[in-house]
Amino acid sequence: MLATESPVNYLNVNTSVASWLLTKDHKRIAILYMVVVTIAFILGAIFAAGIRLELMTPEGDLMSSDTYNKLFTMHGVAMVFFVLIPVVPAILGNFALPLMLGAKDVAFPKLNLLSWYIFVIGFIFTIVAMVTGGVDTGWTFYPPYSTDGSDSNVLLAGIGVFITGFSSILTGLNFMVTIHRMRAPGLTWFRLPLFVWALYATSLVQVLGTPVIAITVAMIAVERAFGLGFFDPRLGGDPVLFQHLFWFYSHPAVYIMILPPMGAISEVIACFSRKNVFGYSFVAFSSLAIAIFGFLVWAHHLFVAGISPYSALVFSFLTYAVAIPSAVKTFNWTATLYRGAIWLKAPMFWVFGFLGLFLIGGLTGLFTAALGIDIHIHDTYFVVAHFHYIMVGGAIMGYFAGLHYWWPKMTGRMYSDTFAKLSALLVFVGFNLTFLPQFVLGYLGMPRRYHMYPPEFQVLNIMSTAGSSILALGYLLPMMYFTWSLFKGEKVGANPWLATGLEWKTQSPPLPHNFPVQPVVTEGAYEYSKREIKVA
């Protein structure tokens, strides 16, 4: 018997460096992305550590204002463009989508690899910008400071962001075509897993929105480098036009960041409640609604920029409208838990963390959406806390939920459930300690992007910094136990979670071409009622 030989899978079929760097296998490309995104996350976290250290004291004593400006700028650039945007689509999406569709790969595998190279090149440009002096405009690059006032590496960083955008565009394009044209026989739209619906909605946003920020950053670069006048008030240009164009993408971008993690949450919650997601079609349509409505609200970032108050009222109303589908999803996930057979494994811990933190983030979004309130809390720590609750408490936790769910499929190994649960708890506690005080700080008037503040704010700032150290520990643990699992983790079979879904019907790790025989689908996505509830 060939007992000692591992079966052929996408990891061991060829282990040369060239086979990785020239791969067309979506599963390998997912891992390539995971490496770069993790590096970007560590970089962004280092910048965040610098920020929190400085903010422990009211004086600007650790660094100059210029250096502080660079820290929060580069923290934002690294986290937004190189972590949050790609983390779930390019990693979990790339890995799972073809498997979930019963396909051999995405529609355009070579384009997929090109997307990764574009991502790396954009990242290199941005890192060079960071280490050769940094950028201090804020990740939002507002003119006239970015075109005329700042003497930092705006051009290099702008080029990096411009290039990276195409990685996102091509991924979205690839996923849309894959979902339209490569579903297995019998896999109709309403039998699709909700993760696929989420990826489709995300792809719409990537394809429609990213080109606009690309051209906008290009306009900044050209104005800065060649003196063309687009936003220059001395010529009659309008800096607020930049803000319109910038946020036309950057608001929908936050839906790129949250929709895929929401999709992952749907998958995990169904599996670990042993139940169909409540109101499947409502959740599916809500994903589309969020993607489309998300394009109608951008000027809520411009409420105090001098736009017409009538226009601001319209955008405020539309912002409330876009909150509704997100709320629908949250209700439906909760209803899924009700009367489910909850199986409390590590992925579910991350799900519960997500539900609590996303709820707070979403509710505080309603505060900022109100025009009158936003006049007072815009550009304060209230807003900072709000979006970190969504992006870290929501998106990153959703990513970790998905990562803990699909890790055994990706690697064929199981990690330590105890350490994973500990990590989720540390992240949850650390996160709340870091960001809950910031709501109070913002309400009391502490502005964002300042490293000096009135002394009465110090206690809350120290709480926040203390929380960030716990948060860091929470994120450090997965790096350790996931790595450990690769060498010492228990080997798993095709379906360790007894989950539904085509990806669980093939070996772990999967074959290079996914399925030995083309699967055919005859039932809905979450037929848990037909499964034996046998918990290992």
Partner: protein, 124 residues
């Protein structure tokens, strides 16, 4: 592949129409129509683009999905242009007591208020 093969005559016909429309748009540009010149030029351009899309790009014979994708592109372009213009278009509607001076607009308010004084209180 099973793509629709158009007869050559349809291509020549579309080309002729495009040439006529081009001449028309140049001609109309020299006719003083006031504020209508811009919309007319845009309408002609949209008509020309539609011909290219439907016939040269075969969208008329393509799937519903293709048609929806083409529509989607122009729909979201329209949102970008029109929703942004709701801001610029309604600036200056509200004249606050100290006036608004927005860069580049024709609306500049200098000196004392043009807003309504508390006339209701005075009238009583």
């Amino acid at each position: 592949m099973s793509g629709h093969i158009s007869p050559k005559s349809s291509y020549y016909g579309v080309f002729a129409a495009l040439m006529v429309m081009t001449a028309l748009t140049v001609g109309v540009a020299f006719i003083p129509l006031g504020t209508l010149n811009f919309p007319v030029a845009l309408a002609i351009a949209i008509f020309k683009a539609t011909l290219v899309i439907l016939f040269f790009m075969h969208v008329k014979y393509s799937s519903r999905l293709t048609k929806m994708i083409v529509g989607m592109a122009f729909f979201f372009l329209a949102i970008l242009l029109l929703l942004t213009m709701t801001d610029y278009g309604s600036r200056g509607w509200y004249a606050s007591p100290r006036g608004t001076a927005t860069a580049g607009t024709q609306v500049t308010v200098t000196g004392p208020t043009q807003a309504r004084r508390p006339a209701a209180a005075e009238a009583r």
